[in-house]
Every structure is written in C-alpha cells, then in structure tokens.
Symmetry: C2
Subunit: 491 residues, 2 copies
C-alpha cells in the first residue's frame, strides 16, 4: 500500500511554478461553483505520519482556495462536553454543510489507529472500529458528501531525516517534541496498523490517496489535483448512488402483523390507573436519583398514529422527573442548517449528556415512516435508513445510553372517534389539522411501514415497545412501567 509512496517522488521547481497558478485558479473556480450550487459538502480527511507535511498541505489548500468557505478542524483532546456523548459526536459537530469544504485533521480514523498501536485495542476491537468507520463514511457518501482521504507517507529513513531537519532549524524546532521521537520508535508498528486501516476503510465512495510527503512540490500538486479532479467529476455529474436496495420489504403472505396481533380490548379502571401511576412515577423518580444514573443518558422515542396519545404519555413521564434533568424534543420539519447536513445530524445535535433524559416526540424514524409513505425521500434513502438508524442507536448504547422506543397504536375506529372529539372541544381543536386527515387516508401504507420498521430496528438494546393505546390508562402505565424496567436493568 505504501510502496509507491516510497519511490522518492518529486517535481522540479520549474514544473511546479508552471502548474501551480493554473491549478490554483481551477480550484478556486470549482470551490465557487460548489458554493453556488450548495448541492453537497466536500470532506477532506487528513492523516499520515508526522513530518510528512500534513499541516503545510492544508495551509496550501487554504491559500489556493478561498479560506472563507473552508472549515478546518483539528481533533485533539476531547472537551468534557464531547466526553459525555458517543465517540462520533465530535465528528458530527464538525461536518461541513453543503456547499462548503471541511478539512478534518486526525478525524475518525486516527484514534483507532493510535489505540491499536499502543495496544489499547486488540485485533478484533480494531476491526470493529474500522467497520464503524466504513459505515459512517458510507452514510456520508449516501447523503451526497464528496469524501477524499489523504494519507501523507514517509519511509522510515525519510521520516528520520525530516524530523532531524525540522529539529536543527531554529524556526521549526518548536514543532518537534519528545512525543514525535517516541512515535518514530513505533514507526514499523504504526505503518503496519495504518496499512490495515487504510485497506479496510478504502472504498470507491471514500478512497484513500496515499501521498509521498518528502517533496513539497509533489505533495501539494498531488493533493490539489486529486481534489480538483474529484470536484470536477462531481460537479459535472449527478449525485452517485452508493447504496442500492437489492430488494424491498414484502408484507408477510398471511397478512399477520405485529400490529394486528395486539390486544386493543384491554381496559384499566381509573382507580387502578391512579394507583399505578403514582407507583411507577415514584419509582421512576427514585431511579433518576440513583447514584449510577449520573453515568447513563436516557433516550426515549415516541412514535405512533396521530391522536394515539403520545403527548399524554410524555407528560406522565416528565411529571415524574425534575425539569432540570430532562428535555423534550418535538421533531418538526428540519431547519435550513439541518437540511444542509446528513439526515441524522439534527438528532445527533440533540443527544443528552450523561445523567439526563431526552424524550423525542417523533424522531429519526420519520424517514422510514412519513418520508417513506409520503414519498418525501427516495426508496434507497429510506431503505438505507434502517441500517443507519441501528448504527446510530448502537453508538448511543455503547456510550452508556439507554434507548427505549414506544410505538403507540390505536385502531382506525378509535382514531376517528378521537379526531371528532378534538374537533368538538374548542380547547383541543388546535391539535387537529388537515395533515391528520390526510395521514389517516394512508392508514394501510403506514401499517406496512411500521411493521417493516419494527422488524428491522427493534433489538434487545433498543427495543420497540408496541403499546396498544385505545385505552389511555393502560397505555400510559405500560409506558411508565417499561421505562422503569429498562432504566433499572441498566443501573
């Protein structure tokens, strides 16, 4: 993998001086075209060995193009806000919006490589971390991002020479620290680990370009041309399709579904409800004051048919909590900023720190529900969403999150009754809109979508709890009780 980057590539100054102005102008033009269309973001990931000119190259790219529309991020130590959330949170925060170029130093690949070199990850864990990266980059590509990854390489001999040169020059001496020499000692190991990482995370939609770092001219021109070609190709063509669904989900032949098998007839008497409400609210309150609770973040998702009682259930939960520790996020149409980012971005930004509860009133499942049914996104978009969502929730769970998802379901007749009741009650009439009636017409489509969703995204760590909610009392108690059990089991 690194062989061709140890050949001593170099470009004579004269050739460089001839090529540079043209390249520069073309890059700037491409950047402005990108900015004008705002169709996709360009993500440039920078990695490689120390002393191979990563920083200089990024500086040159910033100099060649308009630095006002480039966002450069270097990831060092995590801030405490970042430590409180899943590992990838900090990278989601740093993603450039459509139309911009984001240059990311030491991005998501960096930590796993370091950890493997230092033995903090074993081989399997390392493979797993690389798998996660592949998924993440595939998602970015599916969302339309143009992803380029530059790896700046030096042979062992060249690195030693470079470090020595930097050290002996009084102007650059500050750049070389003991850490650099310690890293140099691990050169062979680092090389081996990086090679694995590059191999495993190279894909057509997010290829690594290995660039020999010895000669600045070669390094700059190679990076610049690679970027230019990729942008030209992308600006000229349509958005490439990365994930193609092989087959769409089909309803079961006998038409039996998880929804049709629920018991909608159950009723809970008011007295029993009041007793149980107090019991489980008290229990929930106690749980949130448990010492270990501070190390967990609780994510609760509410989805369900219109008028199924999501709001009422949410209020029975918040009623048991201290207002300082929870946040309810009502999910509506995405804002401008959110539309310029991958689909899950707006949910990532709402993830709570540890010790807190976030309740989503509707959620990331919008993609496989309303967006699928109303054809607001393409087939491949909602098809790939199942996997992306599973991945998202898995990352939350890994970072001590407790994810519980409630689907509140009522029968079609019960919905009609509730709609009419809402229309009659002046105080509740704001709750019923033309959208609700339109959604109702799509009842069957929604049922299919819900069944697919449950089948594909319910799992032990982030289960879908199907709650028959024709009877509000029993529904609310089921929600509270389940939530208590889930939190208790996690502590």
């Amino acid at each position: 993998m690194f062989e061709s980057a140890e050949l001593g590539h170099c470009i004579p100054d004269r050739e460089y001086d001839r090529a540079e102005p043209k390249l520069r102008e073309a890059l700037l033009k491409a950047q402005y075209e990108l900015l004008a269309h705002k169709d996709f973001p360009v993500i440039i990931v920078i990695g490689g060995v120390d002393g191979a000119g990563k920083g200089e190259t990024v500086n040159i790219l910033n100099e060649w193009m308009d630095p006002r529309h480039i966002v450069t991020h270097a990831f060092g130590e995590m801030s405490d806000e970042e430590r409180e959330r899943p590992r990838m949170w900090r990278y989601w925060r740093a993603l450039p919006p459509q139309g911009r170029i984001g240059i990311l130093f030491g991005a998501w690949h960096s930590q796993p490589i370091q950890d493997r070199v230092r033995g903090r990850l074993d081989d399997t864990e390392f493979e797993l971390a690389l798998e996660e990266i592949v998924h993440f980059e595939r998602m970015l590509a599916d969302e339309g991002a143009l992803i380029l990854k530059f790896w700046f390489h030096l042979s062992k001999k060249a690195q030693k020479k470079r470090l020595q040169a930097l050290e002996s020059n009084p102007h650059t001496r500050w750049r070389i620290t003991d850490t650099d020499w310690a890293q140099f000692k691990a050169y062979d190991r680092y090389r081996k680990v990086s090679e694995t990482a590059l191999r495993e995370t190279s894909a057509a939609h997010a290829p690594w370009t290995v660039i020999e770092g010895t000669d600045p001219n070669y390094r700059y021109l190679t990076a610049g041309r690679t970027l230019l070609d990729a942008m030209h190709k992308r600006l000229a063509g349509a958005r490439p399709r990365v994930s193609q669904p092989a087959a769409l989900p089909e309803p079961a032949l006998d038409r039996r579904t998880v929804l049709s098998s629920l018991d909608y007839a159950q009723r809970m008497p008011h007295k029993e409800y009041e007793r149980k409400l107090e019991k489980y609210q008290g229990e929930l309150n106690l749980l949130t004051r448990h010492k270990k609770f501070r190390r967990k973040s609780i994510i609760v998702v509410f989805e369900g048919a219109d008028a199924a009682g999501k709001g009422g259930s949410i209020r029975r939960i918040t009623g048991a909590l201290d207002a300082r520790q929870y946040q309810v996020v009502p999910v509506a149409a995405p804002t401008e900023e959110e539309r310029a980012q991958p689909y899950l971005w707006r949910f990532w930004r709402r993830l709570p720190q540890r010790g807190r509860v976030t309740i989503f009133d509707r959620s990331w499942y919008g993609r496989v529900l309303v967006e699928r049914v109303e054809k607001l996104c393409s087939e491949q978009d909602w098809m790939r969403a199942y996997h992306e969502i599973n991945d998202f929730e898995e990352q939350i769970v890994e970072a001590s999150g407790v994810v519980t998802k409630f689907w509140l379901t009522i029968t079609k007749a019960e919905q009609l009754r509730r709609f009419r009741e809402r229309q009659k009650t002046p105080f509740k009439s704001f709750k019923i809109t033309p959208d609700d009636w339109r959604n109702r017409k799509r009842w069957d489509d929604y049922e299919v979508a819900v069944c697919d969703m449950v089948e594909r995204t319910s799992n032990r760590d982030a289960p879908w709890i199907l709650v028959p909610a024709n009877d509000k009392y029993s529904a609310r108690i089921q929600v509270l009780k389940t939530l208590c059990e889930r939190i208790e089991a996690s502590l």
Copy 2:
C-alpha cells in the same frame, strides 16, 4: 423588598383546587398561541433561597403546560468549552428561540450574588456585574423577549424549618447537603446581597417577582398567574418599545469626516510590499506560536465598501497562520434558527476558544451599516446596536480576547474602476452582483453610517483601524502590521 414575602402567605387547598384547572388551561392556551405566532420568546429566570420550592414550581409549570415546548436549563459548573469563552456565552447558548418558553435556573444573576456573598467580588465589582445584567436584559427586551424573573423567598426561620423538614423525610433527605446548611449560615448576608441585586436589576421590561415560598399552593398559583398575565398582555398587544433614541446622530457641520481626512494617494512599490509582506507574515506566525498566545483569543473584523479588498487582506493574514488555528466566518443573511434569536446570537455562537483566531468577513456591524442604510431594521434597533456592540466587544476583551476591526475604504472612482475590471475578467465576474451596484448608489448614506459607527464603537480595547485601500499593497501591509502590534501588545 422581601417584607411582603414574609407575611405567611397561603392559599387553602379548596381555593387552590378550584383555581388550578382554569389556570392550567389558560396557560396551555397561551403557550400554544405563543407557539403559533412565534413572535417572541418567553424567558423565565428562577432564583431565590434554598428550600423555597424553586424546583417544584418549575416542575409544576412544566406539568401545567406542554413540556415539549419548554426548555429548562440549570446552570451548574461551567464546561471547559464554556470556560474558554466570555462569561455570558453559556447563557446565550441557552436562550429559547421565538415561540418557546425557556426556564433558566441560576442564570446570569446567580454567580455575581454568590461571588459577592463569598467575598470574591467587592462592592464596586458587584455593582458592575449587576450593570452588565441590566444591559443584557435590556437587550433581550429590546429584541422582543418577554422576561419574567421569579425570586422564591423564605424568612430565616422558615428556611430553617424547611431544611429540617426536608432532612427528616426519608424521601427528600437526599436533597439536603452540607452545602445547604453552610449556605443557611450565611442567610443574612445572602439576603442583603440579593436585595441589592434584585433592586438594581429590576426594570419595567424585566421585573423581579418575589414569591413567598412557604406554602406550595400560594407559590404555584402566584408564579402561574404572573406568567399568564404577562403572556396575555403581551399576546394581546404590540411589541413594547424599550429603548427609544433621544436623538439621531447628525453629521458634523463642516462636513469633515474621518474618511475624508484619509490619505488615499499613498502607494507602495511591489518590491517593498513583498519584503514587508514576508516580514509581517513571519512576525504574525511567530506571535501565534508564543506561549502566552494560547491564553488569548483573537477576533478580527473586516468591513468596508464593496471591492475594497477585504478578501485579499484576509488571505494575507490566513497565509501566515496554521489552518488548524483559525476560522474565517463569512457573514451572510441569518439562517432560520438565527432569525429566531436576538441579533447578536449568531455572532456569539462563532466566538473562538482561547488560542484561536476568528476572522469575520463582515460582522455584527451589519446592523449599523447595511441594515441602517437599507432600512432593514428600525431606527431604534440600529441606534441601540451601538451600545450592545460595545458591550459585546467589552465582554470578549474581558475574557482575554483581542478585538481588532478594519474598515477598508476606497474612493468612489476607484470602486468604479474595480467593478469594471471585475466584470471584464471572467474569473472574477462572480464577485460582482447587482447588489454591489445598488450599494454604490447609496455611497453617501454609507459614508454617514460609517462615520457614526467609528465614532460610537471605536475605543482603545477594540479600535477601528481605517485603512485607505486604493493601493492594495499598502492596505494589506497596514492590516498585517496593525494586527501584529495589537497581538504583541496583548501578550
């Protein structure tokens, strides 16, 4: 101030039970009206003595209304991201957008009170901190926010009783810590300091409501009714005008201005430019690697006539920096999220951490320039902006920020020459838009606005540097040289 909150106010249960459902329904209705109109945010600040039922009251408000549209924030220890920025940054982050209710626990008033009680602030410093709060709240009110501040009070005797009661109940014992008793010992001092704080920070547009905390019924109903009345009043009426300009700025009688006195004739030969460019870029680079630089944040503002050369000057600065340590923020029209917040919010969110450089290509001065000239905001909006901007920059400087503002200015004839040149060069034609020609017609209006701006917002700590830029070389060198001097003086 606290006398009437020590009378033993209480509401019998029967009366409470009668009043509560109506209040609740009315609050919910008002909340939905607020949400539907999205005209203004409601900011509820919560303060008071421990054990006076602050938390319970906020929980009740969340229970009465729809918790999905209330954002509750409690401010404890600062995160390290917050510590890296001006003191008020964390509060700006937590402001509710228009249409929402934000409940802020231990908000901006809290720290100064604690610090004064513990002797960390002397009287003058305390007064100054309160003054800052007054300005901040006035700005919020000017921006349209409905601000309510609830202070929950207990007499010394009542607080003691309450703490003891909480401590003896096994369900609430966890809430009382040694800190609470330590705080109790300082009751008299705390009372005195709070009284000063409440008096100094009460204003018609942001009044404190002192609520006796002994009786829950009284406490809840008082908070609820106060909120309801304020929302009703505001929903029924127009946005109140808080700051009224007494007089508008007038041009000097002799028509001499800071702009007309500049020397536009200076020229720098190319050779000299190249030499000086290298010198000052090298100097700037060295400065940013100074040990003390890590404790400073550098904020550079570029404003100027169209085609005055802002972009070119910015690139001469970024060319001297490492891409990892700077960010250029091109200021365009605000996004949806930004429009739902006070004017300065979108600039607060871009403030750099220490050790970093942020360059604003156009800035918060848009309000007193384009928005004033094009009448995009009202007279009182731009008139009050001078003070708000000064306040903003003062806070940055206090938090180790170095603020430097460049006004790049060219003559009208030179602008015309550059516009025509841009139109002719295919590669530069994207840089010239109909807006530019329109702005040009307003040349004189802009001159007046600029002179007012400089007069009102230039000061030793955040000076306006007027740069005659008919000659690009001398302009760029002046910018670089000034920036170096400013940073050097700060280290």
